[in-house]
Symmetry: C3
Subunit: 261 residues, 3 copies
């Protein structure tokens, strides 16, 4: 991703990250996460480590009850069986009717045409935030993942786009943030990105600014990844160390390690 | 939960816990667990750590074969998709016909009316043990979770009620046990309660006294949680430490740490 | 399993194991794994630790797209719900049409007659490799699991048979390998065998010799298990240590610890 000279958001963004981190722990927002099988457990454990309260049901009869009682909805397309498709189709209108933000994670849309079609339909439903990687963005947008195109699509889609990669790029079409924190072992553990999107949703439950929610969560995730990467012997010990680092909510570490512009 | 003066069960209960712990490791009871997606892996790993043998299928065509070949059945309502509902409807009669105890875990019935209805129907099927938290009990019983009400419902439902929380309360309507062991990190790991119910089922396979099975398993879980909580740096490292503590089956630790009355 | 005097494959087999280990890390083969719920996360994490790229979808609409874009297909029968059965029925022809090897894991066919029937049908579809334990082999073959019978069935079925246990026995009907590496804690963690089959599939993507792929993967798994068993305090800490050992890809350890004949 190209780096451009831009406004330096470092201190306010770090303050916002710490503020949201504290509020998640204090207010324990409920996140209803319709997510894929490989991500369910890690998503729940990441939310619990951060102090949030997860629920995971996708059964058609239940999603409206769970979504209405939750503070935010995560829709992850990584398992698209029949019951989940039906559950998603009910959960999104329930979230919108209840005024809850919904966050979209279009996992692997670059690999499966039916999934790409489903993701485009969900994008038209108006998520507050879209979280994806470059390959998924390219498939969704049918366009390259350079910063200008991402900003233009953010405006066209009417949602914050949080593009994760070696450098995370977050934009609401006007503001931009770039986060350089992270660790290579994050790519050697399944569902790290999916679980990260759930942490974005936890923040989105507690602020009216989805750009701030996405930026704060991705900064927190990247720093926890660096801390865990320094403590781990490999991808096996990385995962528990990562959850510990999220739970520790170490404000000093965030202030000293943040690389955001 | 109120503490009342009562008979001291400390030594016999601790002996029973150690005795059942040994027998689970020696006899490797088969537990067929129809449980939710977030709990499946941790449930299987907890049973394996204790020396039991888990199976997890819920497919309609298979549950009778698995249940009949198992020594106890766990029914957890945390994922209520169509195939699981159909599987549960077949597994319970198979367990009863084969004389196997079934243990019911009505996860999150306080959050979803359709799930509450399903839980009440399953409760009418006659589980040996109901394991739930206070919010789930209140929803199921439509009554407060004070000790007298829980005892009355245990008698009315004809099953042991194991109410977990900061202090666990177990009753068969006549006898009561209160367990104060545990650690706050147990609430920061998903599926801890669900997996605990599976350990109750493993014990229920090996004793005719479901009150003893529930009490022994919850005591063992609470003590393993305390040991793991002392060794862990957070919820990530807590989970492997907890499985290690279950596997260690440390009789001396159980005798010295038990807080049961 | 009987030990017979036989040709010593030690050095070439160890060389092949190290060679395939390097190539998996360098070429990151895509393995599409249709596997059971208890195995999905550990399978994905094991493949990622080895450097491979997992995908897990089983939805009927998507499996052909995923299988065609993958380098090998794993079919594990450990969850046989309706959607997976339909997905498997589409994925196998797609793999064969694309010239991708498929590896079959008939989990627990000894416990469920409908699953046994499904496994026999899939075996007739022509997997490159069948990975199972002795009880599963006995059920599938309706014959004992002695070495001569296993070799005869390997020839009759036209596939490599990799029989895992205290000593792993791998044969293509002509060649045989016996691996004595491993650790008792491998049997106290769920889905270890299922995840191991996925590593076999990763190797099968990169060699034309499925006997070599199966032998190399099982040798690597057994040695990683020994390393992890030496570092772990129990089954909880075993699992992260095992993934770390796979990721470390320590050639010296493989050369010094291999017990293969």
């Amino acid at each position: 991703m190209n780096h451009r000279q831009g406004q330096i958001f470092a201190n306010p963004q770090v303050d916002a990250c710490i503020d949201l981190m504290r509020r998640v722990a204090e207010r324990a927002p409920r996140v209803h996460a319709i997510t894929n099988f490989a991500a369910q457990v890690f998503t729940a454990n990441l939310l619990l480590a951060a102090g949030a309260t997860p629920s995971l049901s996708y059964a058609e009869e239940e999603v409206e009850a769970f979504t209405t009682r939750a503070d935010a909805l995560l829709v992850n397309l990584g398992t698209l069986d029949r019951e989940r498709r039906a559950g998603i189709a009910r959960a999104i209108p329930a979230a919108k009717a209840a005024g809850r933000p919904f966050v979209l994670d279009p996992v692997f849309v670059d690999r499966s045409p039916p999934r790409l079609a489903a993701a485009r339909a969900r994008l038209a439903d108006g998520p507050a935030i879209l979280r994806c990687n470059a390959a998924e963005f390219v498939a969704l947008a049918d366009a390259p993942a350079d910063e200008e195109t991402v900003m233009a699509r953010s405006r066209a889609w009417g949602c914050v786009v949080a593009l994760t990669g070696p450098v995370d790029f977050i934009t609401d079409g006007a503001r931009v943030a770039r986060i350089e924190n992270g660790h290579p072992l994050m790519a050697r553990v399944t569902a790290m990105g999916c679980a990260g999107t759930a942490l974005i949703a936890a923040g989105a439950a507690l602020t009216d600014d989805p750009f701030e929610a996405a930026t704060a969560a991705l900064l927190r995730l990247g720093i926890a990844g660096e801390i865990a990467g320094g403590a781990a012997q490999g991808p096996g010990t990385f995962q528990p160390a990562f959850l510990d680092a999220i739970h520790a909510a170490d404000e000093t570490a965030i202030r000293s390690l943040a690389r955001i512009s």
